[in-house]
């Protein structure tokens, strides 16, 4: 790709801009939940997260109380109060009464609204409106104001979700599911892959074809029979049907075709001479496998481990079918799904929980990207 197509400055500039746009679209969504998870929960709903670094100045609209709230003072009719009520106080910089000029008057000044009516709005939100005549109507005066609140970042959200929303516990559950479900298939697949690559036995070609076929069998085909099987086993032995052991084995089973496929194509590509010289020296298949093949296969074992780890950690379907929803079993993805139902509008809870859910995959992914990409290439470009 050393051939530079389009050599003009404009076209090179265009490429930079285009890539920049793509990168922005692909990163901004994730950035949104990261920033929001660190914001004060009142500010999350008060302004968009993209405004969170500015001392968020925004123009808002409100109404003063209706005429029923008026009092008489020194022969004038007066409406008094605070536009923020008892809510969080913000700083008002300017106000106005027309939508076209929402910041006509600086805060603290007295605005002349005609007919002797004056309105004063102070920076803290308190207002005084006076009039020589009684106020009428049950709708109060429309008011526009520019307010600002200093940006406030906090880790409170993390404390809340980790310890009171049960995300911390789910994090442990996810680890409990993921680590054994990643480790167990590796050994089983490695032995099978070696046999399929380097040992001769009847039915080998058929077995390879079956495994490649199973590679694309939808998970959905397995769910109902396995659910029945697990329920049956549970009833027969009088044990719960939703157990960690059950989901470890299920993930092992679902991960095996890919594991064997990936490992076999790598192990089959190891140089024949190494195996043969070892065999001449009197090494058995078992010794060849353990002493030569396993160490040489480290990169592909790492690739598979990363795949399986991400797949199990991110899985929702298998966890919802084979694990319970009680606090001692619910995994992060299922918990997040449950929170979406129960805490639909609480974005401080949702964004923080989501970020905790994705942080482990992101770390694994960034630190081991090399192996991940290698596995991806070997796994999908068939024979490549």
């Amino acid at each position: 790709m050393a051939v530079a197509t389009g050599k003009s400055f404009a076209s090179r500039f265009g490429v930079h801009i285009a890539v920049l746009v793509f990168v922005a679209i692909w990163t901004i969504p994730t950035l949104g939940i990261l920033v929001s998870s660190l914001r004060d929960k009142d500010q999350i709903v008060a302004s968009g997260w993209w405004n969170s670094f500015a001392s968020s100045s925004q123009t808002e609209a409100g109404r003063l109380p209706p005429s029923t709230a008026q009092t008489q003072k020194d022969g004038k009719y007066v409406l008094e109060g605070n536009i923020f009520g008892d809510g969080a106080k913000r700083n008002i910089s300017a106000f106005g009464v027309k939508a076209a000029a929402p910041t006509q008057y600086p805060a603290g000044s007295s605005a002349d609204l005609g007919d002797g009516v004056t309105l004063q709005v102070n920076a803290d939100g308190s207002f005084v409106m006076t009039s020589p005549k009684a106020f009428e109507g049950d709708r109060g005066q429309r008011l526009y104001y520019a307010s600002s609140a200093p940006p406030k970042f906090t880790t409170d959200n993390y404390q809340t979700v980790l310890f009171s929303e049960g995300i911390g516990r789910s994090f442990m559950n996810s680890l409990t599911v993921t680590i054994p479900a990643t480790v167990i298939p590796i050994l089983i697949a490695a032995f099978a892959a070696y046999a399929l690559a380097w040992m001769r036995f009847p039915g080998r070609a058929l077995l390879i074809a079956v495994i490649i076929g199973l590679l694309v069998v939808p998970l959905q085909m397995s769910l109902i029979p396995l659910l029945k099987l697990y329920n049956g086993v549970g009833t027969f032995f009088g044990v719960p049907s939703k157990t960690y052991l059950g989901i470890w084995l299920a993930h092992t089973g679902f991960g095996l075709p890919f594991a064997i496929y990936l490992l076999r194509s790598y192990i089959a590509g190891l140089p024949r001479e190494i195996m043969e010289s070892a065999r001449i020296d009197g090494a058995s298949d078992f010794e060849i496998f353990v002493k030569i093949v396993l160490p040489l296969s480290f990169p592909v074992l790492a690739s598979f481990a990363i795949f399986q780890f991400l797949w199990v950690w991110n899985d929702l379907l298998v966890a919802m079918v084979f694990l319970g929803t009680a606090p001692d079993q619910i995994v992060l993805t299922a918990k997040l799904n449950a929170l979406l139902g129960s805490r639909g509008g609480n974005w401080e809870i949702l964004t923080t929980s989501a970020f905790i859910t994705i942080i482990v995959p992101l770390i694994v992914f960034f630190s081991l990207q090399r192996y991940f990409v290698r596995g991806l290439l070997a796994g999908s470009v068939k024979g490549g």
């Binding site: 790709m1 051939v3 197509t5 285009a18 890539v19 994730t30 949104g32 939940i33 008060a46 968009g48 516990r169 442990m172 054994p180 480790v183 167990i184 050994l187 089983i188 032995f191 099978a192 046999a195 040992m199 001769r200 036995f201 077995l207 079956v210 490649i212 076929g213 199973l214 069998v217 998970l219 959905q220 085909m221 109902i224 029979p225 396995l226 029945k228 084995l249 075709p257 009197g282 298949d285 078992f286 991110n314 929702l316 379907l317 993805t333 997040l336 799904n337 979406l340 974005w347 964004t351 989501a354 859910t357 994705i358 995959p361 992101l362 992914f365 990207q369 999908s380 470009v381 068939k382």
Partner: protein
Amino acid sequence: MAAQIFSAIFVIIIGVGGCVAYFWGANKLLDLTFPSRGVTGTAAVNNLRRQGLVRPWLFVGPALIILTIYLIYPVIATLWLSFLDRGGTSFVGLANYEWALRDPDLRRSILNNLLWLAVVPAACTFLGLIIAVLTDKIWWGTIAKSLIFLPLAISFVGASVIWKFIYEYRGEGQVQIGLLNAIIQHFGGQPQVWISLPFWNNFFLMIILIWIQTGFAMVILSSALRGIPEETLEAAVIDGANPFQIFWKIMVPQIWGTIAVVWTTITILVLKVFDIVLTMTNGQWNSQVLANLMFDWMFRGGGDFGRGATIAIIIMIAVIPIMVWNIRQANKETGGH
């Protein structure tokens, strides 16, 4: 919780130790039963032959057993269950399939799945290809690729929360905190409840999967592009081809095989799409898809295994052509070995 960590560690040790013990022990046992060392002549030859007959099965045995229980048996059982009633006890013939033909929810799901199939693989492949070509030309391409690749590590549920936050709608008079509605408002448009707009909501859900999978397409296609012989590109430049002609007439035809692989991989993923629909809409507002409908039938009102199995079979039928193609390709490539 401490007990849980302890039991998890315990299981890892037992599980891994058990595997090691099995493989080591079984091989040892085989060596002892048919000794090849310490015996001479025909006995040694015979024993070596017997070892050669048994040992492969010791190696593939555990994998074979697990594959049989978790994949091969269930495929047959699901097929059988699709002919049984809701509890899986009595034979009902083709009743479930007749239901499938008539059920409006199922028809809606199939239509939506077709829509997903038409849009997502094409969008991912196309965007992936464009980004792969563009990032190859700039010095910070690797960083850009890394960032675009990143969503691939995020779970579908996590991605759904991320995008739900972007599609968030807040009532009139409130500040729009969802990025999409804020942008629309900024340009004078009317904020919408995007995920409950029938038909169009499908596309808002698809965007999530496209966002996740484009990185996958990009990485695979980028490596294929690097494999294109430079002479072909140079020749095209000398012949005066413009960048678009080089892209469409020189590059794309040479990586056609890889494009097909990416396309089929994403197609299979789309057929199984479940998490995104469950978390975003749970199939409401005409956004149902097969995998979510099946999950629904598995547990709805105590579960209807017959109908659930029938939906699984429908998904399977859609996958079979790809499966056959894969096996053929693999046979062609590994034929000799």
